[in-house]
Symmetry: C2
Subunit: 350 residues, 2 copies
């Protein structure tokens, strides 16, 4: 299956996302595969059997969100300079979102930009991070605060890499699929509610549907000036949750699951979503054992942490809320009292 991503403003960036169609890739230049030890141990030989290059390097960075930082980026860049990579060289991101984000950012700033290819190995990165060109690293102020919009030349999604995925990692990916359905596609949501993504044909279909939706949104609004912000549904809350738990307690998709439940509670309060709809979404998340609760000990402190998030424009907090299932509303004028009041409901969460 193939999905094309077409950019309204810059056609030269268009590229194709291939699902379970990876052929042998041949390169007449230096190629570096950026990966982590875990992915390399499980799948590097499979990938290597598919790649032919003038010269091939493997750069291994430590596994985990806490290593998505300037130090790992410097290590990648230093390797590239050391091996005399030039403007015609190509990087391949082989791993989850952390690998993809760092590789894409390294590609974007190495000699003012070289080509890179995404080969995502987690469900989360297959349905979300690998498509759309958001790249970057975290710093002490928060997540993805240094980065670039920089599109890959192609994305190869191979569902066979998911067979080794841990259950929690799988659920984290499902959370982003649910996100796509809730905000953009009621039929897809109903389909998800009546199917089981542990079945491989259903999973491949759900990946394709998610990728198509994302490609459409990103093609219209690459740099998140408008509709692309909707993809942050759940994320405004999730970033605070991740920040408060040192990026260690929850996987990103798990934090997004909780974030969606919080956003839904706010949406119910504002009359955008019914209690029944909110429960349906929660049920779907729980079907994949995703966390849906989080104890907010200090709602005021939680609220204040929003403003460090990069989606904050002149200190107004932007919330992406579902409007029924399959619709959305972008709100940046919600009274802080209402939000804090909603956060209070999570004070006794366990």
């Amino acid at each position: 299956m193939q999905t094309n991503i077409g950019f309204e403003n810059q056609k030269s960036q268009d590229y194709t996302i291939y699902i379970d169609e990876m052929q042998k890739l041949k390169f007449d230049c230096n190629v570096a595969i950026i990966t982590n030890p875990k992915v390399a141990g499980l799948h590097l030989n499979t990938l290597l059997s598919k790649i032919e290059a003038k010269a091939l390097y493997v750069i291994t960075v430590p596994d985990g969100e806490e290593y998505k930082n300037q130090k790992s980026l410097d290590m990648i860049l230093e390797s590239l300079f050391n091996h005399r990579f030039d403007r015609s060289s190509v990087l391949i991101a082989f791993g989850g979102g952390v690998i993809g984000d760092m590789t894409g950012f390294a590609a974007s700033i190495f000699q003012r930009g070289i080509d890179f290819i995404q080969i995502p190995t987690t469900l989360l990165s297959q349905v979300d991070a690998s498509v759309g060109g958001k790249t970057g690293i975290n710093n002490s102020y928060g997540k993805n605060l240094i980065g670039a919009f920089y599109q890959p030349k192609a994305v190869y999604i191979e569902t066979k890499f998911l067979q080794t995925l841990e259950k929690r990692e799988f659920g984290a990916g499902v959370a982003e699929i649910v996100k796509m359905a809730v905000t953009f596609d009621q039929d897809f949501f109903e389909w998800l509610s009546s199917h089981d993504l542990h079945k491989s044909e259903d999973l491949a279909l759900a990946i394709q549907k998610s990728v198509q939706t994302k490609a459409k949104v990103v093609g219209q609004d690459e740099k998140e000036k408008g509709i692309r912000a909707v993809l942050n549904y759940g994320h405004t809350f999730a970033h605070v949750i991740e920040n408060m738990t040192d990026y260690s307690r929850f996987l990103h998709g798990e934090a997004v699951a909780i974030g969606m439940v919080m956003a839904n509670t706010l949406a119910v309060r504002l009359g955008l979503l019914s209690e029944d709809e909110a429960n349906k979404i929660k049920d779907l998340l729980q079907k994949y054992d995703l966390p849906t609760s989080f104890c907010i000990k200090d709602p005021k402190a939680f609220y204040d942490t929003f403003s460090l998030d990069k989606k904050t424009k002149n200190a107004k907090i932007t919330f992406i809320l579902p409007k029924g299932i399959g619709g959305f509303e972008i709100k940046n004028d919600i009274d802080s009292k209402i939000v804090i009041d909603v956060l209070e409901e999570f004070r006794d969460d366990v």
Copy 2:
């Protein structure tokens, strides 16, 4: 005077270069002026009288090419995070090429890209660096090896800032003007040969002509896949000269002047340029007291340093050579022996 830069591939990036037309700039957001102590001492009050912002910050970085590095970049970014800059904030580059390149790069990677404005204060940055969106920093491997193509929202060139320019800095700017004329415009070259850029009307005209030429080239080929490379005439040699003299002996434009003389010698050898034309170019450079000689003690070592330059594609060295005055040729198949032989001619230069 105004020059518009229009991008064939991405119209959304179009912007205007204003020459001696700066009006009061008003911003409803956080603004940071990035400058150095020298420029601030001479001209910051003039700039401040033209700016109105919701909140205004001045970030001062040390003056000089040797500070165009990761450390200065980190300092700028840290300031922005510390002052809680967000996606709607704006940076203003106020200084020469070093300030412009670093500010543009910081703007490109801060929260995946915020707006910036160029207000160049040196002749070199007015005619060259401020237009076209090449941003970046140096590292231990060479110049501009980390960076991005990232366009400003507008460029304001004010010739009054040039009144305090030192004579060498002025000449360095003239070198880039000569570069533009030699490769693209014979009439402009003849005009330069018969005029004196120390006269302010002539200078303003020469700046406009250079900026128009550059805008046209960059608009056609933002990312230097083709014709934009011609703007590197003289630079392949200049980068090695700068590298070998620790970026301290020559100003960038001075190194470019020597580089053009070297490129011309190679062009004469290959029958692209006549001796007479080469001398005319040298005369024009010398009229502005630009250096035109450099002692190459070890031609082989000089040649080997080319390959660390980012313009090198798969270890082939690309030379931009004048084809008569007003024309050019891009060559990447010149036998290394011929080049080294030409470099030998500079062994006894003083």
